[in-house]
């Protein structure tokens, strides 16, 4: 027997560890990559124990050759191609030649596995201080070539993933560790030097534990193969197991020493291996039995850890409030197996904002809880209220607790969880009794307490998110509204500016026209160039122009006055017929000059008075008749007064040009003039009707409107004035 070396000892735990990692990685995440790793782990495990077996076979050349052929070579030959295959899956390589290389590699490996059974591959045994190995021949050279080629290819692939900065940082880090791991493991190939008569110390056996450490680190630190969580838990178990075993050994050694009996180390080693296996299965077996027992003996064994883990994971993925509430409700009813569940959420003023009902609570459920118990943080348990009642001395409190207990009993609520974030109450969760009808245990309470704090945070986040989202939507809507409003106002302002500019042009024209006539006539008169025969006519014309000038100036001043805030009409009792008569007398001649008939149609009896202002009322009638005169080319204008029960109607009926339909809506606006009006009478200011409207609108209950109009046929303007009440 050669000297046993530490590297060979190291194979014993390494073998089982790598197998466990491989098995876990495949069982937990069924990815191709993980399966290949599992296969690789099998070859490594066989390699590890094969190496130990080989060591113990030294001296029996036949056995050594048998072990090497059956347990070592077939598995070791598969390692390089599995390493390469893993690199292809991990690096997601789709390149054709790499796929071809993969198939070729498998074929090559399979051929070598067969070849390894013949003497041209290995035959005869070399013996060294540290162990023994079969002698490698031609086939073995091809195996060495296989290792070199495929390890280089695998490392090349992993190196490319690490080098490519487009890959995410996690993937790149994983690639680095796998690369280092594979590289170190490939150094196990130095074992093959023994096949060529070179008896170096078997350091190469240490590559397996090193590989395990590196891969384990990558799994936990960089989530390699997505099994970090399971792996971390297993590690905890293994460390725990190791600690127990250490104690066991210590007790064993002390007992043996005390009793002075010898320890059979082979038996101890077997026990050690068996205990590792059993303890590593402990959790799985325990869960299985727990489920079995739960199913057949108690209907409600709940794994709270699992429920809360699941809840946390699900809630972390969801931000929508309603869905969050659903998740919480499901966790309580389906997993914790509770009967009634009701979640009530409050806003800052403790108004209910959201309520989700699972079963049987009456609708006013939250109110008494809110009133009496919100200030007591945490949870309220109906069972416990009884004990509190027994010990509480304050009568006031006793009374409140009594009412609460009754109320909870009435609505069949067993537990009330208060949802809080910081010092703020965000809601309540009411729980009915368990489906199993058994009492709430201490474990239940602890779990529910953790549960409610997890739920609180998730709900608060979701509520906040909803609030922010609503706020942002609201803000967006408001901005849109404002923008639209501003745009409309801007358009309106633009139109006003255009109208103002048009007004200035028209007004200046109207002011200039009489001025140019008056100025021209006077200059000719002054310089003695006004012929005798034309003098009177021209002077008359100039005078008419001065009257028109006065009208225009008055219109402009009146319109400006109306647009100021100070405009107010002092009301008095006015006899409308008298004012109409006055204007009629003024305008009669002008109508006659134009060849138009201006008729007055007054009631035969004296009519009632209106509450108005004679000056402004005169302006209204004047403007109406003026308009009629200007826009009537032939025919007549009738000014008619009619008396109703409460109102007096004034109608101005002309046979003029009429008003186009499209001009009617804006008729009473400032500077608004219908196209046919502009063509007929260029001097119009666009202020006459505006002034009328403003004056009439200043009267309570009065109105002015176009009663009828037809292009080319005439228009009827009507003014309705309420009668002054007789005193």
């Amino acid at each position: 027997m050669p000297e046993i070396s530490i590297p060979i000892y190291a194979q014993i735990p390494s073998g089982i560890l790598i197998f466990a990692i491989g098995l876990y990685s495949w069982l937990k995440v069924r990815k191709k990559e993980n399966f290949i790793f599992f296969l690789l782990a099998i070859t490594q495990t066989v390699f590890a124990y094969g190496a130990v077996a080989l060591f113990y076979s030294c001296g029996n050349d036949k056995l050594t050759t048998f072990i090497d052929r059956i347990f070592l070579y077939p598995f070791c030959i598969m390692m390089p191609i599995l390493v390469y295959h893993f690199s292809i899956e991990f690096c997601e390589i789709k390149i054709r030649w790499q796929k071809a290389a993969l198939y070729f590699g498998y074929a090559w490996s399979a051929a070598l596995v067969v070849w390894s059974q013949f003497d041209s591959f290995i035959s005869g045994v070399y013996h060294y201080r540290w162990g023994c190995h079969t002698q490698g021949h031609l086939g073995n050279h091809f195996y060495v070539l296989l290792i070199i080629s495929y390890v280089i290819l695998a490392i090349y692939n992993l190196y490319n993933v690490w080098r490519d900065k487009k890959n995410d940082a996690l993937k790149r880090s994983q690639a680095v560790y796998i690369m280092i791991g594979f590289f170190i493991f490939s150094l196990a190939g130095f074992t093959l030097l023994w096949a060529y008569g070179i008896g170096i110390y078997p350091w190469s056996y240490l590559t397996l534990p090193l590989f395990i450490i590196i891969i384990a680190y990558a799994i936990t630190r960089y989530r390699l193969m997505d099994i970090s969580f399971i792996f971390r838990q297993s590690t905890i178990y293994l460390i725990t197991i190791s600690l127990f075993l250490l104690v066991l050994y210590f007790v064993l050694i002390i007992t043996a020493w005390y009793l002075q009996i010898s320890i059979h180390w082979n038996l101890v080693t077997a026990a050690f291996l068996a205990s590792i296996l059993m303890l590593s299965m402990f959790d799985i077996v325990r869960n299985f039995i727990a489920r079995l027992v739960g199913r057949y003996f108690f209907s409600e064994v709940v794994d709270y850890q699992e429920v809360i883990n699941d809840l946390t994971t699900q809630l972390a993925r969801e931000i929508d409030l309603k869905k969050n509430l659903q998740i919480i409700k499901d966790a309580l009813t389906k997993k914790m197996k509770l009967g009634g569940v009701r979640i009530v959420l409050f806003d800052k003023k403790l108004h209910t904002v959201e309520s989700l009902v699972k079963a049987g609570f009456s609708s006013d459920v939250s109110h008494f809880l809110l009133r009496d118990f919100l200030l007591e943080k945490g949870m309220v348990i109906e069972q416990e209220l009884g004990f509190i009642l027994e010990t509480e001395k304050d009568n006031e409190k006793r009374k409140k607790i009594g009412i609460l207990k009754e109320n909870m009993k009435r609505i069949k609520a067993s537990v009330c969880l208060v949802l809080m974030v910081g010092d703020e109450y965000i809601g309540l969760i009411l729980l009915g009794s368990k489906l199993s009808a058994s009492a709430y245990t201490k474990e239940d309470m602890q779990a529910l307490s953790v549960f409610s704090s997890q739920a609180s945070i998730a709900i608060a986040n979701a509520m906040l998110y909803q609030e922010v989202r609503d706020y942002s939507l609201n803000l967006k809507r408001k901005v849109n509204e404002q923008t639209k409003d501003i745009r409309e106002k801007n358009e309106h302002l633009k139109k006003l500016l255009e109208m103002r500019s048009e007004f200035l042009n028209i007004t200046s024209h109207q002011l200039r026209t009489p001025v140019s006539v008056i100025k021209g006539t006077l200059s000719m008169l002054r310089e003695g160039r006004l012929p005798e025969k034309d003098r009177e006519h021209l002077l008359e014309t100039a005078y008419d122009k001065s009257v028109k000038l006065t009208d225009v100036v008055n219109d402009i001043l009146l319109a400006s006055e109306m647009k100021s805030d100070k405009f107010k009409i002092d009301m008095e009792r006015v006899q409308l017929a008298e004012v109409v008569q006055e204007v009629y007398e003024d305008k009669k001649e002008e109508a006659q000059n134009k060849g138009l008939e201006l008729k007055l149609d007054l009631p035969s009896t004296k009519i009632g008075e209106v509450l108005s202002n004679a000056k402004y009322l005169k302006q209204v009638i004047y403007n109406l008749i003026n308009n009629a005169l200007q826009y009537t080319l032939k025919g007549s204008i009738i000014v008619k007064i009619e008396e109703g029960n409460d109102i007096i109607l004034l109608r101005v009926i002309d046979t003029g040009i009429g008003i186009p339909k499209e001009s009617l809506p804006k008729l009473f606006q400032r500077f608004s003039r219908a196209p046919n009006a502009v063509a007929t009478f260029t001097d119009g200011s666009g202020l006459g009707l505006f002034i009328i409207k403003e004056i009439i609108d200043s009267h309570k209950g009065a109105k002015v409107y176009v009663e009828s109009t037809e292009l080319g046929k005439g228009t009827t303007f009507t003014v309705e004035l309420p009668k002054a009440k007789s005193i």
């Binding site: 200046s508 024209h509 021209l538």
Partner: protein
Amino acid sequence: MSEKTKYKILMVEDDEAQSLMYQIEFKNFGIDLAIVNDGEVAYDEIVRQKPDLVLLDMLIGKVSGLDVLNKIKADAATKNIKVVIISNYNKKELNAECKKAGAIDYWVKSDYVPKQIVEKVQAILK
């Protein structure tokens, strides 16, 4: 009066008071001023009378002075007739537009007395 036979001037003006006033003043200076008081017939009159100068108002009923001006300048027979816009309606853009359309000038009536208008016309026709 030599000018009487020399020049033919046509004024398009719908305000009777003004056309009368200008007619008298032009006559005082021995110039015959023909008047057209309707924009719609102005162009036909210009074609018929072939004046040396047209004094064209802007607001002349259903058509505008600019329409008449464009018509004059578009017709080969009338395009060489000198046109001056003479109006109390003055808008910067319109002023520029008229000049672009071929008007010699744009006079605002109230800025001048009739005698000054006569002098300006004489200056153009000299």
